[in-house]
Amino acid sequence: GGQDAASDDGDPRTLRIAHNSNAAALPVQVAMAEGIFDKHDLKVEFTKVENIGTLPGTLGRSFDIALSVPTTVISAAQQGIPVTQVSGATLDVEDNPTGFVIGSKTSGVTDIKQLAGKTLGVLTETGTTHVATKAWLKQEGVDPASVNIVQVDGPAQADQLAAGRIDAVETVMPFATSVLADDNAVNLGDPYLKLAPELSAILWISRQDWASSNAEVIADFQAALDEAAEFIAGNDDKARQVLKEYTGLPDPAIKAAVLPTYTTEVRPQDMEIWLDAMREADGFDGDVDLNALVASQG
């Protein structure tokens, strides 16, 4: 559209950023709220988009930087959409997991191996969590094809599991909290961590051409996020207030939320792990230039 082209020619230090209600985006919001971006001479126009799967195609037109996940980045790149990672967002580590597979005593799924023949509710069938879960199932000797998959929106997951419409569910924060609130729910583990002991499952992307011509801006963006992450670590209350504002979550959920581990590190090794997982678990057979996906690193 015409109005997008106009913004393209605009000030390169004005960033059009899109992300969803994910806690992974908290540093961006804190940086906006606390004037950290201003300090780095960046202006930010923020749009909330819940379905981040469509964002790669809109980069360069509607947005400059968007939140995304490795599987989306890899698929998009393979189909010729020139995306690249500009910054890390969070890192899954052993003592702070963000992915969950949750079974239930009533459905009899208390171990990942028992999923064969059962119905698993997933957030998105092609998303990172599910790719990781499939890889995990394979590791455990379960054929992923034997698991019946249905897509269940996060907010409805707790009810569907409790009502026995699904036997297990694969989820992320904050939905995991309400799913686990049921007495019968059993946490089976973090599928991300089955791929590697430390792994990035969510990150910031832009178009490759934009990234290569705005390396300085990207460095400032990362610096701002790092500063915001520090601020979050030191100002829990303020940070949670910001979280509440942009997610709209109710107070109990905000209080109970476990904030993820933030990073701006671009980790080529993680992208490789994800590509392998997709090849192995999903039958992905595309040819992807991993270097291009992280080329902006510098």
Binding site: G1, V49, E50, G57, S62, P155, A156, A158, P250
Partner: protein, 260 residues
């Protein structure tokens, strides 16, 4: 003066509606329905209060109405015009109807991402979708309404009405009842698909509010948005019918849409 206004208010319909809400509340209160995702009407009412006081509702509703009504109005113009041509000019019908039927069969929802690519995250995307969705019922009903009673057409011919006058005075008025049905159907599909476009495409309006509140684990507010959508449907329809009764008195009376 007061009586007709009072009679316009559909007490019976409102009673049935309230009764259904009461039943829902009762089912939740008695724990026959017990789901966090599906709150009882009282909680929804509370959510509605929150949405109204935060100002989110007004803005979202305004956005959605603007998109849906713009698309619908464009579709009404295009649908009635194209429908008249297709209904009257046989060769045009012959050489294009099948294409229209094929286009019409395309699932518009799947094109929302494409529309987002073409028009970006903008209200134009929504208007396009609303237009596309509303066009078909209006078009088909217009074409079908153009099958006028032959004796009336002969009356027009005998009284030497021009082609334009036959269209304007006999065909279109004769098709009005059908066209109004098309407009009503078009209005509801344009609303529904504007919402879909907001849910999967442009993050704005009631559709996005719905998704956002769902993701924010606020089922009360989410269903308040759903409720507002439903009530909007009722009101829009009542407005269209009211306008039709005013503008097309005779047609509405002869098709039984005006009592006494």
């Amino acid at each position: 003066m007061n009586r007709p206004v009072a009679r316009r208010i559909n007490v019976l319909g409102a009673a049935v509606f309230v009764l259904a809400l009461g039943l829902w509340e009762l089912l939740v209160r008695t724990s026959i329905l017990d789901f966090a995702y599906l709150p009882p009407p009282t909680v929804v009412a509370q959510g509605l209060g929150e949405l109204v006081s935060s100002g989110e509702l007004g803005e979202a509703l305004g956005h959605t109405l603007f998109a849906a009504l713009s698309g619908w109005a464009l579709a009404a113009l295009a649908g009635v015009a194209a429908g008249s041509v297709l209904g009257l000019v046989r060769p045009v019908w012959m050489y294009s109807m099948a294409s229209l039927e094929a286009l019409r069969a395309l699932p518009i929802v799947a094109f929302v991402p494409v529309a987002v690519l073409l028009f970006g995250f903008s209200v134009q995307t929504e208007i396009m979708v609303a237009f596309y969705a509303a066009l078909w019922p209006i078009l088909l009903n217009t074409i079908s309404g153009m099958r006028t009673e032959p004796r009336m057409l002969e009356s027009g011919a005998v009284l030497r009405l021009s082609r334009a006058a036959v269209l304007w005075k006999i065909r279109l008025p004769g098709a009005t009842a059908m066209i109004v049905v098309g407009l009503r159907l078009g209005l509801s599909v344009s609303l529904v698909l504007t919402l879909v476009a907001e849910m999967v495409g442009n993050p704005a309006g009631l559709g996005f509010l719905l998704v956002e509140k769902g993701q924010a684990l606020q089922p009360g507010q989410m269903f308040a948005a759903v409720f507002v959508i439903g009530v909007t449907g009722i009101i829009l329809n009542a407005l269209v019918m009211g306008a039709a009764r005013l503008a097309f008195r005779g047609q509405m009376a002869s098709s039984g849409e005006v009592s006494s």
